[in-house]
Symmetry: C2
Subunit: 445 residues, 2 copies
């Protein structure tokens, strides 16, 4: 094996958005490419399901201003973009179950709480501007920021009980984890990589502004069509050996391919499961966020007639946030609901029947009894997906950027890295995945 003649120029591991973009760009530039995927389908953390002739997104789906590369890719592939529905009032459910209508991103929390939250948001934005998104582990303050959790920052910064509850909810909605699990530096880097906190949280003008016609998964399948039989499905990579002249990539059934370079474009916990020889200079093990996404269909988007947008925030677990995700055609109504962080882990311990009942109860409280009697109900627990291990993205705990940062994006010899977690812009987003795939291809061509 050590004198193995390269089978191809580049092997790309993982046919999520990053791997697909990388392989397709290399192929277009005349390189001989093999794209190796563990599952029986492409798309990574995007996924689609067809219900009554409409493709609904079970995974990543939103795009927004500043995410130029996914807009460009959609345009190139002929995938139309359309706005997320926002007309109408948003709903906020308090811990005691009271409903309050509001517009925009921050609900009516009472004047003191509102002031407290606004001050915290401004501070977080200001702190985020001090972070170098290209090298978050550098900078005079980086080690101190990486030594703290978002929780300890909230405890010190936010004075009102209502403000603290709201920030815990915001953390679950944004990072799909508890504030205690997150390095403050990572939270700030994430905001910086998106541009601002508003860019992260907003629908109009923010990262939830637009959707892709036919679903984000449709972008992945169109890229896969272009790659044709350069893709090997059902091929989980177990081992990557590096020699003077190339690499050998071995999959579960023992098949091995040689190449000059390999691009590893899988989520960090899966990269960490590959046996690298010689060993990597630094580990890649990180926890992922915890997300259960519910896609619930109705004959029509009935909430719109009631003056509601379909967007809701809830301080009462398990649902953190909902959004109107009806198909562009308007032929049906679809609500998506996210159960994230600790509530996702708690809910996963219940039976499927209990989970359905709990979810429909919660939707009924937010949008009235019609919400509790859907015509379709699909659940996707991303933590149980063996080849995702969670969503939306990896969560850097305290100390991890300091420890892993310098080696995080740097090639280890002939091993290169891609994936939404390796992008200094739009970390964790579809756009970040696209950028990382493009960057890896550019380095190799």
């Amino acid at each position: 094996m050590s004198h193995h003649h390269p089978d191809v120029d580049v092997i790309v591991v993982g046919a999520g958005m990053a791997g697909l973009v990388c392989a397709e760009r290399l192929r277009r530039r005349g390189h001989d490419v093999l794209l190796v995927e563990a599952r029986d389908q492409v798309g990574g953390r995007t996924a689609g399901i067809e219900i009554d002739g409409e493709t609904l997104d079970l995974g990543g789906q939103f795009i927004g201003p500043g995410q130029d590369r996914i807009y460009a890719l959609a345009a190139e592939l002929g995938v139309a973009v359309f706005p997320t529905h926002t007309a109408g009032a948003n709903v906020m459910e308090t811990e005691t179950g009271r409903l309050r209508r509001f517009r925009g991103t921050v609900p009516k929390l009472g004047p003191l709480t509102l002031l407290d939250v606004a001050r915290a948001q401004a501070r977080l934005d200001r702190l985020a501007r001090t972070v170098d998104a290209e090298a978050p582990w550098r900078g005079p303050n980086a080690a101190a920021l990486d030594g703290r959790t978002l929780q300890s920052w909230i405890d010190r910064t936010v004075k009102t009980r209502g403000g603290r509850s709201f920030l815990v909810l915001a953390c679950r909605a944004i990072w799909a984890c508890e504030p205690s699990e997150l390095s403050l530096l990572h939270a700030l880097f994430y905001v910086k990589a998106a541009g601002s906190l508003a860019a992260v949280t907003d629908v109009e003008g923010g990262a939830q502004q637009d959707r892709l016609d036919g679903g984000a998964y449709g972008v992945a399948t169109r890229l896969a069509e272009r790659l044709g039989d350069s893709i090997r499905l059902n091929a989980p990579v177990q081992r990557i050996e590096q020699h003077d002249a190339g690499v050998v990539v071995t999959v579960e059934d023992g098949t091995a391919w040689g190449a000059r370079h390999v691009v590893v474009a899988v989520p960090p916990p899966l990269a960490a499961r590959i046996a690298f020889h010689p060993p990597l200079p630094a580990g890649r093990q990180l926890p992922m966020g915890s997300v259960i996404k519910y896609v619930v269909g109705y004959p029509a988007p009935f909430w719109r007639q009631a003056g509601l947008s379909g967007s809701a925030l809830s301080l009462r677990a398990p649902i953190a946030v909902t959004v109107d995700s009806s198909p562009r055609s308007g032929r049906r109504g679809v609500l998506i609901a996210f159960v994230n962080g600790a509530p996702a882990r708690d809910l996963a311990t219940r039976s499927p029947e209990d989970r359905r009942r709990i979810l429909l109860d919660a939707l009924g409280r937010l949008f009235g009894p019609r919400a509790a009697t859907p015509v379709s109900f699909v659940e996707r627990n991303w933590n149980e997906e063996a080849f995702a291990r969670g969503a939306y993205s990896a969560v850097f705990p305290p100390g991890a950027w300091t420890r892993l940062g310098a080696a995080w994006r740097a090639p280890a010899g002939r091993i290169h890295w891609a994936g939404a977690e390796t992008s200094p812009r739009w970390y964790g987003y579809i756009d970040g995945a696209v950028r990382s795939g493009e960057a890896a291809a550019d380095r190799l061509s």
Copy 2:
């Protein structure tokens, strides 16, 4: 496979101290047991090397008062216990390279710094007493303590620069990680599980008081002798399936065994790599501490003649701590040196020649030029051991006890847990491993 007839009563995965103790106890009670080990030898995080007729410990080696179960096991196996050498002065190296002699655990740091450190130690001890070692995730204060890093606690509690430096060094010496990587709750639980901070840090009266004649690894090999051909080496477990009537354990080469129960007694990151079907209710992925242990031999323990104990602490990386580890016979001198946490990760990026030179320079500064010309020099980087992934033990980052705690030690159906990380007493120590193995065997017999 689903109607597979059990091959044995219990399969134990991992022939470290916990797995060996568990399997041996079950065997003695008449159970049919299979002990499956990934490596070509037993011992887990204990390991021995023979140099000039003496077995030296490359892994865990110290035991101390309160660790009743390892003392009992040694007695039962006829392994003698002898005290760690302590006579003479300890040495402290400052950041600028000045040497100060001292006695006991805390060096001469200047009166203000000393007061600061003493106050921090007392506070940590006091806080640790509030933690329930049987269920660290419970208790009124647990969530808040688990939301913080040890670093943020040091930043708030310790006022002097010298005090902060010393506590970072202490963290590296005790937990083999940076204070930013560690949940404050985990640090407190660890202290509580050992009894007190003094029990953790002290040689005389503490966890470093005694050694095992012939090395800790000798305890493992004697247990292995008793188990005979119930042990399968070179058998990394890849998959554990659970059915109504039993489990099926499959190893890398495809061999599968059935059993009524399985005890998984491997470090958390390795348990996390096993494919469990159905999936576990909660993950087991945790980072390990970072340890490179050096075992350096001399014709004689020359430092003793100079009035030195061989124990040193250094605020100048890379060495954190050294101890006289000469064989009981006194025929040779042996110093062990630990490079832990971030300095271990930095040092690992250097060439073997550089690492040797850096280490011998550092030992020369601490113990004089004779220390720089040893007759033997052995390095063990525990982070590069594929079936250990680090040492001394797993490090719970913020939020991890809150998230994983309830499922951490609870059996998942027919899957039981053992290993130093599952013991509520002496977490991470050899004694904790022994206790966890005994407890798992007791539950199954």
